[in-house]
Symmetry: C2
Subunit: 211 residues, 2 copies
């Protein structure tokens, strides 16, 4: 067993700490974030920081790193007030990973990484045609986190485009049918195997499978 | 293909919308959140909203729902300024799910759900002994999100306890060796299969496997 204390974390070599801290939470959702600038130039980048914030209103959060000259995403969201998320599928995780390369500002990762744009009325930002689940979001709030200069972007889900059978009768997204990939850290990609679905937990009974 | 627009989302039946919005982001990390109250009574609950916020300083965020009378977690974190996260493993996902039941305030889910407490110097809050990866965090900031009454809790990682071989030579946590489970929505549990690990992406080359 390995016990790592605060002063040892402080003393870690940068690459080691980055790898550890990016993978320590567990598996992560993988999505492709689509935006446009004022001239409708498109931008696409893989994000693993999207999280559920609430169902009513339907809100998602995501963490965006400090703005850099070649980082168009945050600028674009501020300017247009909208963005899209398209699921990363096991079929194309390599192309999705390639969107994390530091292409110059104005270069579209759609073209460079082999993704087709898909447009739907109401959103200027493109979705990824290949994805089986596409979400259109309207910006609600940007929270600047002073602790480290990141920004938490909160958006409201205003459009969902799903392939047949991806959304089940009860509303659940079936990510195995959707072909979604899971991530860990900055470089690991996984497919999944269903262990179980469990009934709503109540104090007076033990956990029951609903498969 | 199914296209769902904003007014259709607004009109969804509550259970359907809750299922959809909780599962739409993709796979989620699963952790058990441990806290204590002022009298050192312990509390444990499964959380799927933990996200990476930064490596230096090492910060994790998580979303906590509005405070309710039987919800001790937020109260405890405010009071003690600390909390623990222990990974949910495929071996005990059922017991982990059971911690989501609404036990009365003051009842410890450790006892009710079959988990053993593990204490480490520097933290009053217990970890889950069975977990292969344990993280101790110090509260840094609580952000009240006015949009829906949730709270984003940001903590700094000050202690890591990992079983042998869980942390690889480069710093990456190997969640397959760790036996970590992935989640989706409020009720689905998964194990994973590694697809690939990919080299740092650069504009001038195509994606390469580093397995």
């Amino acid at each position: 067993m390995k016990v790592i204390k605060a002063h040892e974390i402080d003393g870690m070599e940068k690459a080691y700490r980055t790898a550890l801290m990016n993978s320590i939470t567990g598996y992560k959702p993988l999505n492709l974030l689509g935006t446009v600038d004022r001239d409708n130039h498109t931008n696409l980048c893989i994000v693993s920081s999207v999280f559920h914030m609430g169902s009513n209103p339907p809100l998602l959060g995501m963490v965006i790193r400090p703005e850099r000259p070649h980082n168009d995403t945050l600028k674009n969201i501020k300017m247009t007030g909208e963005y899209t998320l398209s699921n990363v599928m096991c079929d194309f995780y390599k192309q999705a990973h390639q969107t994390s390369a530091s292409y110059e500002s104005g270069v579209s990762e759609f073209n460079k990484c082999g993704f087709d744009k898909y447009y739907q009325e109401g959103f200027k930002s493109p979705f990824v045609r290949q994805s089986s689940l596409k979400i259109g979001l309207r910006l609600q709030e940007m929270i600047d986190v002073k602790l480290n200069g990141t920004t938490i972007v909160i958006g409201r889900i205003e459009l969902i485009i799903a392939n047949d059978d991806v959304i089940q009768a009860n509303g659940d997204v079936d990510h195995i049918t959707a072909g979604s990939a899971a991530g860990s850290g900055l470089d690991a990609y996984f497919k999944t195997v269903l262990l179980d679905k469990l009934a709503y937990a109540k104090p007076e009974r033990t956990t029951e499978s609903i498969l």
